[in-house]
Amino acid sequence: MAAMERAFVEIDGVSMRYGGAEGTLALQDTTLSVRRGEFVAVVGPSGCGKSTLMKLVSGLWPSSAGNVVVAGQEVDRPLSVVGMAFQNPTLLPWRTILGNVMLPLEVVEPHRRRLRAERAAYEAKARGLLAMVGLSGFEKKFPYQLSGGMQQRASLCRALIHDPQLLMLDEPFGALDIFTREDLWVQFQEVCLQLKPTVILVTHDLKEAVFLADRVLVMSSRPGRILAERRIPFPRPRSLDDTYRQDFQDLVHELRNHINAARKGEEIADAA
């Protein structure tokens, strides 16, 4: 049955070139598809076009070639079925945490129409999400009163509040210290197990990718293209202890070798 179902996200022969025809090719002929409910992580060295891929799939930028289809809809502008979290928390500093989490509801239909009438229900939902990531009691605080990790969790709640069918995460844990980051992996995994969204996570942290994802894609740089694909067999829920298991480490190592190969190829290309 799964084979019959059309992929939820289809990225077909997508390229992206900056600065006109002579410009830098950031992403070359990338093709990948993501099933509904799947968690895909895209890893690669910096400058490999991971963030470009995110901008294209989220519709923030138009692609130079190829097309992107999300939920049967061609992406030519940002779609409201997508929730996005960025490397920085990007909370609006003049809003409380609750106000920030509820921001998408003021923009995205049909919530936008209903918000006034069903404010209490929506607020309860926002509080519920905040509770899931351990932010109960911080609803009325302003972003500057929270630590970076807490802000990032609030930002995840904001990405989830309007029930997006696709969650796009652009290195959301990248700016955090390792302990906070690992905590958030566990919490985020729980959220995913409950809400079962389709997720595309861009990261340069291999451990993070293997811990969270069902499938990991390795990208090369300049121009970015997908070099390798690896299915992660470990059952869920995964614990932080699992990350120290030999088979987990072997997988991380294997991915690391792909990245090394990608970088070596790049050096050869540069030298030539």
Binding site: R77, E106, V108
Partner: protein, 311 residues
């Protein structure tokens, strides 16, 4: 989440560690060290309270001292009241002419506030337009700067020709002079919105108008209020200027009449009244700013207070 929860200040009297200068652990009794710390925290809090009291008193002290010095110098050097009247002479003039002063001050205040109100409305609108469109920004900015460079005192006679002697030229002058800082500040606030914040809205499929309403305008508010503090004081300059050149009412006109009668103390009384109105309006603008844009200063005023007085 206990790990990275915002640290709360330790309860006073129970600091987590001893003073750094305590040296090697001695056999000295520990509880007394805690007492010493409590006393130190208490002393710091008291010092902070004294400083805050001084801070609120200081402006008044300085104003009082200035007037005192002025009085002493004028009397000591026997300066002619025609050159520089002593504060006591100015006060006497204020008492003597309190009624015309009050009537004309009211006139000037109303003129200024109407002009200032117009400046807020048009300044906000134009500031938002210029700030959110680079095309408008580049197109209109040279004209705006050129317009602002024109001395307003040269514009008043033209306004008088158009609208006749009276309140209207003064309102328009107050508007013209206070409009520019508002436009520039609001435009700057909106034009410098972080692209990341804009992307948050754009990724949700927000319309440009949504982005201005939800990100641009709130983001520009600190800039807007900062500009109001400048604008309200220059609005007084504008209205009094116009009253001096072509009007039959207002503090400016009163000062003109007083100086033509060589009643210098009354001229100074008019200046004093104007200064008081300016400071009062500035205080109103500052109070509104503090209430509405606490996020921009990150509640620093509160933090200083609660941080120093302890938990």
């Amino acid at each position: 989440m206990p790990r990275d929860a915002t640290p709360s200040p330790p309860p006073s009297g129970l600091p987590p560690s001893g003073p750094p200068s305590s040296g090697p652990p001695s056999s000295g009794p520990r509880p007394r060290r805690g007492d010493a710390n409590a006393r130190r925290v208490e002393a710091m809090a008291a010092a902070a309270r004294r400083r805050r009291r001084l801070q609120t008193l200081l402006p008044w002290l300085i104003i009082g001292a200035t007037f005192l010095l002025w009085e002493v110098l004028v009397r000591g050097l026997q300066v002619d009241a025609f050159i520089l009247p002593a504060p006591s002479a100015i006060a006497a003039s204020m008492v003597q002419w309190w009624q015309p002063l009050l009537v004309n001050a009211w006139q000037t205040l109303m003129t200024t506030l109407v002009g200032f109100g117009l400046a807020i409305v048009f300044g906000l609108a134009l500031g938002v337009a210029i700030g959110s469109s680079t095309l408008l920004y580049h197109g209109l900015y040279p004209l705006l700067i050129g317009f602002n460079s024109v001395p307003k005192v040269a514009v008043v006679p033209i306004l008088v020709i158009w609208f006749g002697i009276g309140t209207v030229p003064a309102i328009i002058t107050a508007f013209l002079i206070s409009f520019f800082p508002i436009v520039v500040n609001v435009a700057t606030g909106i034009a410098t919105v972080e692209p990341e914040l804009r992307d948050v809205l754009r990724a949700l499929g927000a319309r440009p108008l949504d982005i201005i309403r939800k990100v641009g305008l709130p983001r520009a508010m600190p800039y807007f209020f900062a500009s109001l503090k400048i604008a309200i004081t220059v609005a007084f300059v504008g209205s009094i200027l116009a009253e001096t050149v072509g009007s039959n009412a207002g503090i400016g006109q009163l000062m003109l009449v007083a100086s033509s009668r060589f009643d210098v103390p009354l001229v100074f009384a008019g200046l004093m009244v104007t200064a008081v109105m300016g400071v009062a309006m500035y205080a109103v603008a500052a109070a509104i700013e503090a209430r509405t844009t606490g996020w921009a200063t990150r509640g620093q005023a509160e933090q200083q207070v609660s941080g120093l007085t302890g938990g």
